[in-house]
């Protein structure tokens, strides 16, 4: 069995298994905790509307905060959108999903994907630099932050290297790229990458809690 066979077969199956298992584990582990009902008299009905509002209200900082964190948000968006575009609109990636879901969709030319991936990688390095240089971020960072950065950046770097065929053997490069993605999947449920789920839960929770009070969140 070559490395590529391993990456396309058993490694992928193991990674997907751990990915799915871990996500359910962590979500259910929190949701199955007790929650005391709030007995206070709500100021207004329809707290869930506030919850929905909370989902997009925090998509961009409130005006007074823009000068402080606006740039950080932009870098964040570049990373997230870049990840999204490369993941879903790169042809090989789309075909990967198509094999699982059974239908195909429109994709972007390889050159565009390469460019987006490059920009995203640069944004990732900017984010890392900020984490290392900014006193606040450096203080509050832990292993998870750097590990998350690493497993997120690795697929971009290996993917770009494979596209540019910088490896001695293309199939080894492809295998390493695949394995780097499986590493991401395996790490995903156990680190802060889970924020892709928590951000919805957390924003909705706070939004609805404070809408109930009439306050601001």
């Amino acid at each position: 069995m070559t490395l590529l066979d391993f990456a396309r077969g058993p490694a992928m199956q193991i990674a997907i298994f751990i990915f799915v298992l871990g996500i359910f584990w962590r979500l259910v582990g929190v949701w199955a905790l007790r929650q005391k009902k709030d007995l206070s008299e709500p100021r207004q009905k329809g707290a869930w509307i506030g919850g929905i509002k909370g989902l997009y209200a925090h998509a961009w900082p409130y005006k007074p905060f823009v000068p402080y964190v606006g740039a950080q948000y932009i870098v964040g968006y570049v990373i997230h959108l870049g990840l999204f575009i490369v993941l879903f609109f790169g042809t090989p990636h789309m075909l990967f999903f198509a094999d699982i879901v059974g239908f195909t969709w429109w994709t972007l030319p390889g050159g565009v994907i390469t460019f987006v991936a490059l920009v995203t990688t640069v944004a990732l390095f900017i984010a890392l630099t900020k984490r290392l240089v900014n006193p606040v971020q450096r203080l509050i960072s832990n292993f998870d932050d750097y590990a998350t950065w690493f497993v997120t950046t690795l697929p971009f770097v290996t993917g770009l290297a494979t596209t540019a065929n910088l490896w001695p053997h293309y199939e080894t490069g492809l295998a390493i790229h695949l394995l780097s993605v499986w590493l991401l999947l395996i790490y995903f449920p156990f680190g802060k990458l889970m924020h892709s789920f928590w951000f919805v839960v957390s924003r909705y929770t706070t939004g609805s809690r404070f809408a109930r009070r009439g306050g601001m969140a």
Binding site: W25, R26, V28, G29, V30, W31, L33, R34, Q35, K36, D38, L39, S40, E41, R43, G54, H58, P61, Y62, K63, P64, F65, Y68, V69, Q72, Y73, G76, N134, P135, V136, Q137, R138, L139, I140, S141, N142, D144, D145, F190, K192, M194, H195, W198, F199, V201, S202, R203, T205, T206, G207, R209, F210, R213, G214, G215, M216, A217
Partner: protein
Amino acid sequence: MSKTTTEMALDLEAKRLSVVEPGTRVDLQGEMSDEERVEKAMTNFAKDFGRVTATYMEACIHCGACAHACPFYEASGNPRHTPIWKLEPFKQAYKREAGPLAFFYKAFNLKKNVTLDELKEWQELLYDTCTMCGRCTLICPMSIDIATLVGMARHGMFHAGLVPHELYTVTEKAQREGSPLGATPQVFEDRVEWMGDEHEVDMHMNEDEAEVLVLMSSIEIQKYPESMAATAKILNQMGKSWTYRTDGYEATNFGLLSGNTAWQKEMSMKVIATAEKIGAKLVILPECGHAYQALRWQGANMYGKPLPFKVQHISEFLADAVDSGSLKLKTVNSTVAFHDPCQISRRGGATSAPRKVLEALGVKLIESKSGGSMNTCCGGGGGVITIHRADTLRYKVMGAKFRQLGETGAEMMVTSCSNCRQNFDDSGEKLNWDKQMNSLLELVADNLVEEAKK
């Protein structure tokens, strides 16, 4: 714990000679072994973890944005004052003891056990530099309610005997005497009577039955007694059936501020029982932020069922009164900047009430930058104002607040929280502020259109 002075940096910007971080003193209560303290902190912290708070603990991405919403970080520039960092040991404890991956973390010791030294270090972060104003939640991309988590962390700190002495002392006093600042029932009764005479207002004290029960905070009783007269004047004018009660008058809840849930419940229950006894349909809270939080939003949860009466902050009551036309006000010719108390506006939801009242007064309200529900905290709430070693930073926070209010160019400063007001008075004196913070309630009382008595 104390270092020698040579190890400490001098703060040359301070008005008097001082050191940069006088907060290295750590207070301990009770006789306990180190292990016992840590154990108590952890268990009392983990005890109340529910789905909501666990979600918050899971959601943080360590982006550090919260620092920029925090008045203490903005004043000190010290990364330790980043809101989420104030929870660090407790986040560790959550992940190690209560989270879904706790087994994992514990088995491989990935999250270290919290140490007493860490808890001691965090005393300053959890008490001196956080008013639980919740502004950090606004900037948080994950919308994490850090203030609530700090409140939970304080539960652990209290039971481990790790509360700053001043806060502990007033809390213990409140528990023993019924009031943190020596406003015993007797003192309260005397001062109400005094104010009644002084302002020639009919005071209703210890009525057996009344529709409205009025509470006062000990800050008002002791420092701003005019509030008691002002409230009475307005209620009399409206012809309400109301009363003060010596068995349930204290609105502040230091059980909540210090982190003792049992005491918080006792303090709230005293008021709830009194209101029930006299058949009150409405409990009016004085100009006090945490009081609103304690009774309006946490009261029912302490009681264990919905409260049989309505709870209003005085500004809400006044807003309803001017709305319904039962209260007529004279026009005040002035420009006003309003300082929103965090617990009433952002975290309480009564942001529009004082604005309605100010509109009825005919003043021109000039909103400050980042005003209303996004208001910057004065830095004195959450018990911070009681802690002496927190003074230096508190004044710095207030310096920024003064600048912000000054930028509005308004002639008159108004707020609806006597704790904020106390902080403005104290810091104003210290920093030579050229303005005075006024009470919304007193402003209304001074400008009533007095109709002929029936």
